[in-house]
């Protein structure tokens, strides 16, 4: 939370000094940097143990990521991850664990693809309709978990795991040629969306096309931050996440909040499939990417539910995903990157925790010192003007 409290301008004694601000920056950056270092060291140890060069893989990956087309791949992948992670983060902020982002975005992409292919509208409108359908579908699917939680007390962890599997079945059914699908060779698709429904990208020349949806993703991040930190609703949501009982006493309708945030989470999740659908595939088929929701969980956790943190997390994971491809070509096992992902997650959170504790301890000490100083300078000035005497 230390990154949530931006120093206030008006605050007098509450305003951190430059030194304190620097302190805080060091604390905030120190964690991740330290963690990355530790993760790299541990991975190197694994490499050494298996008789490989402990350094070369990194060099290879970094070199490989120097290619423009790989950079585009990384950015595009990060865009998708970013949205999925935001969806997860909305839930986390409320202490809701939406494991269902995976099912939500797949179902949403499927339904949106069917809708988008069914008709054609002028360009911006077509895209907007598809996005709206995706959001609604995602929201609906998450809403089921929300309703089950508020009305029947079903744990969202269980219900979203179930809903993921059910979404798989529904998609498998709907994509049959007898329903909304078409068979193309050995593939099943939902038909091509007309060009008016494509989201134009940024052509970087040799690197390829960066998804235009990255703009939407960035906007989502801004909106996420604004809503959470600058609106009444966001305050209520965070309060509920911090303490459900305190939020209830403060006037938040906890059940409605749970439902609302689940729906919002699902709506955002619905957009996670859009970069690929609107920017690349223009159809939903059997080869549509899967598992993004789960990666989203990792990234939300890495980014500590903060939009900027999530952006870094998404880029980092996307980098490991894409740049690790080169390891294969050079005779290294690509799994090194997976191992490193796991290690990074652990190392990052451990260092976050260490840094958080350190910060907390310092804060308490400061409070304690201040108190002692105050008490020493003005002992017992509190009850002087009180008369006393028994009431009888």
């Amino acid at each position: 939370m230390s990154d949530g409290g931006k120093p206030g301008v008006a605050a007098a004694s509450g305003r951190p000094t430059t030194r304190a601000r620097l302190d805080r920056l060091v604390l905030a950056l120190g964690g991740p940097v330290l963690a990355l270092g530790v993760a790299v060291l541990l991975t190197s140890a694994v490499l050494l143990l298996s008789g490989r060069s402990p350094v070369e893989p990194y060099v290879l990956m970094i070199e490989y990521a120097g290619n423009a087309d790989i950079q585009v791949l990384i950015v595009n992948q990060a865009t998708t991850y970013y949205i999925a992670a935001l969806a997860v983060a909305v839930g986390f902020r409320m202490n809701l664990f939406n494991i269902g982002v995976d099912g939500q975005y797949r179902l949403a992409a499927m339904v949106a693809a069917v809708t988008g292919a069914a008709f054609s509208l002028p360009a911006p409108l077509h895209v907007l309709v598809i996005m709206a359908v995706a959001m609604l579908t995602g929201a609906f699917w998450a809403g089921i978990a929300g309703i089950l939680k508020t009305s029947r007390g079903v744990s969202e962890v269980v219900s979203t795991i179930m809903l993921n599997a059910i979404a798989t079945s529904i998609i498998a059914y709907l994509i049959l040629p007898a329903q909304f699908g078409e068979q193309r060779g050995n593939n099943l698709t939902t038909g091509q969306i007309a060009e008016s429904g494509w989201f134009p990208g940024f052509d970087t020349g040799p690197g390829g096309v960066v998804y235009g949806f990255i703009v939407v993703a960035a906007l989502l991040g801004v909106v996420y931050w604004l809503v959470l930190n600058r609106t009444r609703f966001g305050f209520d949501l965070r309060a509920t996440g911090a303490s459900q009982s305190a939020a209830a006493a403060s006037g938040v309708d906890a059940k409605r909040m749970i439902f609302t945030s689940m729906v919002i989470s699902g709506g955002v999740a619905g957009l996670a499939g859009m970069p690929v659908l609107l920017g690349d595939s223009h159809t939903y088929s059997l080869v549509f990417p899967v598992g993004i929701g789960f990666t989203g969980i990792t990234i939300a956790l890495l980014g500590r539910n903060h939009p900027v943190g999530i952006a870094f997390g998404a880029l980092l994971i996307a980098f490991l995903d894409k740049a690790s491809a080169t390891l294969d070509y050079s005779g290294y096992e690509k799994e090194i990157a997976t191992i490193m992902q796991g290690l990074i997650v652990i190392a990052v959170v451990i260092s976050y925790e260490a840094v958080r504790r350190y910060g907390l301890r310092r804060q308490q000490q400061k409070v304690g010192e201040e108190l002692a100083a105050q008490a020493a300078s003005a002992p017992g000035d509190t009850s002087q003007n009180l008369s006393k005497g028994a009431s009888a």
């Binding site: 939370m1 004694s13 609106t231 006493a249 006037g251 409070v367 108190l371 005497g389 009431s391």
Partner: protein
């Protein structure tokens, strides 16, 4: 019986935790039975016959009394029948009235307190540490507890005892140590000091008492409750009526004190008033408006202030900075927001003001609420609620766990607001506070308002009698009356101890 007194944060609990092996001292020695010891963990302390009842209950709700008791001491009597027999034996020996197989969560505070003591006795402790064991008990329960303690003392056990209720301390202790900011400032005998002197030793100032001088009660009703009934349903007890036809009116400038043993419906009443519980029957009116169907937020906006009984659960976001806590509960109101947008700047500035005005001891408003001490947290809450000029204030245990200095401050604030026409519902386990601050007194028992009394004449003991259901209707103060013979639970009465205590207030 050795009492330790001191302000909040003086270091009493810390000292005791060190004695119990839960924290490590940086310097110094501990000597038990003439032998210098180093305690690494509670296990070491237990092995040396030290037992501790903590300031906060150390009980696992979802385990039975038996399980809570044998935990950690399984090797003594097993965890089955033998342990159960032993518990019964101890319970009978000291009249603790323990039922081994109920879940702790189903117990009231007094019973929990007894379970805590049982835990210590079960381990054969020779030295008992009791950290504020009486904070949540009514006088009769306190008496019963002291009777138990005296029995233990008679058997040769040593009791170390911490309390903020100085009268209590003087009545039971054989020796008193006063500590201030981590050091011993005095060692006195109870015969030599009065509560006043003791308080001065503690804080360097006089002991305040809650007292309401002139009446400010008007005839303008602010809150009227009629026929309020609330049922709950839970799996264990089925349907229960927790509030049964409750009705009262609080006028502008009036403090209505509500006495009652915890668990008799006060919590539910508060929750029904603030809108956390839905009323199954009856009406609640605020001013001219009926608010029975209103949601919590609307009620708060309509001018109900709320000082919750459990500030950690209902009053604060412990991990959030002070200024966000200042917004909590009033997010829709000025200066915290305009329209749908928060105004963090204004909220921060106003938090500064509250910290200043209400003497919240903190180095700044960016620190988390959790890093403040309990008393300062409470001051923040009071400041926040008062800042919105409520018409009606629910004050539940407003000074629980707050030291004498801060207590006086909070009382002052309530009195001041009352003077300006605030209506207050005051609920407190501290009967002195209740009597001293209230204009009208009511007693709640088993979800009903069973008695009323005049705070000008009533004594805590008389009130306590009604709280246990032994008296009802209008309570009149009778000179020389030593309350009733025995209380409703059939536990032996020990009113004489309380009598002493009362005298200290003169």
């Amino acid at each position: 019986m050795h009492a330790i007194v001191g302000e909040n944060g003086a270091g009493k609990s810390t000292l005791m935790k060190i004695l119990y092996g839960m924290q490590k001292p940086d310097e110094g020695t501990i000597t038990v039975d003439g032998e210098q010891v180093t305690l690494h963990s509670p296990a070491d302390a237990i092995a040396r016959g030290i037992g501790m009842v903590h300031q906060h209950f150390m009980l696992a709700d979802n385990l039975t009394v038996l399980e809570n008791t044998v935990l950690g001491g399984e090797s003594l009597y097993g965890i089955g029948g033998r342990a159960r027999d032993k518990i019964r034996e101890i319970s009978d020996a000291y009249g603790l009235g323990i039922r081994p197989d109920v879940l702790v969560e189903d117990l009231g505070v007094a019973d929990r307190q007894r379970v805590e003591i049982l835990k210590v006795l079960y381990r054969g402790a020779r030295t008992l540490i009791l950290d504020e064991p009486t904070a949540v008990l009514v006088p009769q329960e306190v008496d019963a507890l002291f009777a138990n303690l005296r029995e233990l003392k008679a058997e040769g056990l040593t009791v170390i005892f911490i309390s903020h209720k100085l009268g209590e301390v003087l009545s039971v202790a054989d020796e008193i140590t006063v500590i201030r900011r981590g050091t011993t400032v005095a060692s006195v005998s109870p015969d030599e000091v009065s509560t006043k002197q003791l308080a001065e030793l503690m804080v360097g100032s006089e002991l305040p008492t809650p007292e309401t001088r002139e009446s400010t009660v008007t005839d303008r009703p602010v809150l009227s409750v009629e026929g309020l009934t609330v049922h709950t349903h839970d799996a264990e007890h089925g349907d229960r009526t927790v509030l049964d036809d409750v009705g009262f009116t609080i006028h502008a400038g009036e403090v209505l004190g509500l006495a009652g043993v915890e668990g008799n419906g006060q919590t539910e009443l508060i929750e029904a008033l603030i809108g956390l519980k839905h009323a199954d029957a009856g009406t609640i009116r605020l001013g001219d408006e009926e608010i029975t169907g209103w949601a919590t937020r609307r009620r708060r906006e309509g001018g109900i202030g709320y000082i919750p009984e459990d500030r950690h659960r209902h009053g604060l976001l412990l991990e959030s900075p002070l200024w966000e806590n200042r917004i909590l509960g009033h997010v829709t109101e000025q200066p915290n927001s305009r329209g749908y947008w928060l105004k963090p700047k204004a909220a921060r500035a106003d938090t500064e003001r509250i910290v200043e005005e209400y003497d919240v001891r903190t180095p700044g408003i960016e620190v988390t609420a959790g890093s403040l001490s309990g008393g300062n947290q409470q001051k923040l809450i009071v400041g926040r609620e008062m800042s919105h000029h409520p018409r009606f204030l629910i004050a539940a245990h407003p000074t629980r766990g707050v030291d004498v200095g801060a207590q006086a401050q909070i009382w002052d604030q309530i009195r001041e607001a009352r003077h300006e026409g605030l209506a207050v519902l005051l609920i407190s386990a501290d009967l002195d506070e209740l009597i001293g601050l209230s204009d009208t007194l009511r007693v709640m028992y088993r979800g009903r308002l069973v008695a009323d009394a005049d705070p000008a004449t009533i004594t805590p003991e008389e009130l306590g009698t009604a709280m246990t259901g032994a008296a009802s209707g209008h309570l009149e103060h009778e000179e020389g009356d030593a309350a009733t013979g025995s209380d409703a639970d059939g536990r032996p009465d020990a009113a004489s101890g309380a009598q002493n205590e009362e005298n200290e207030h003169e």
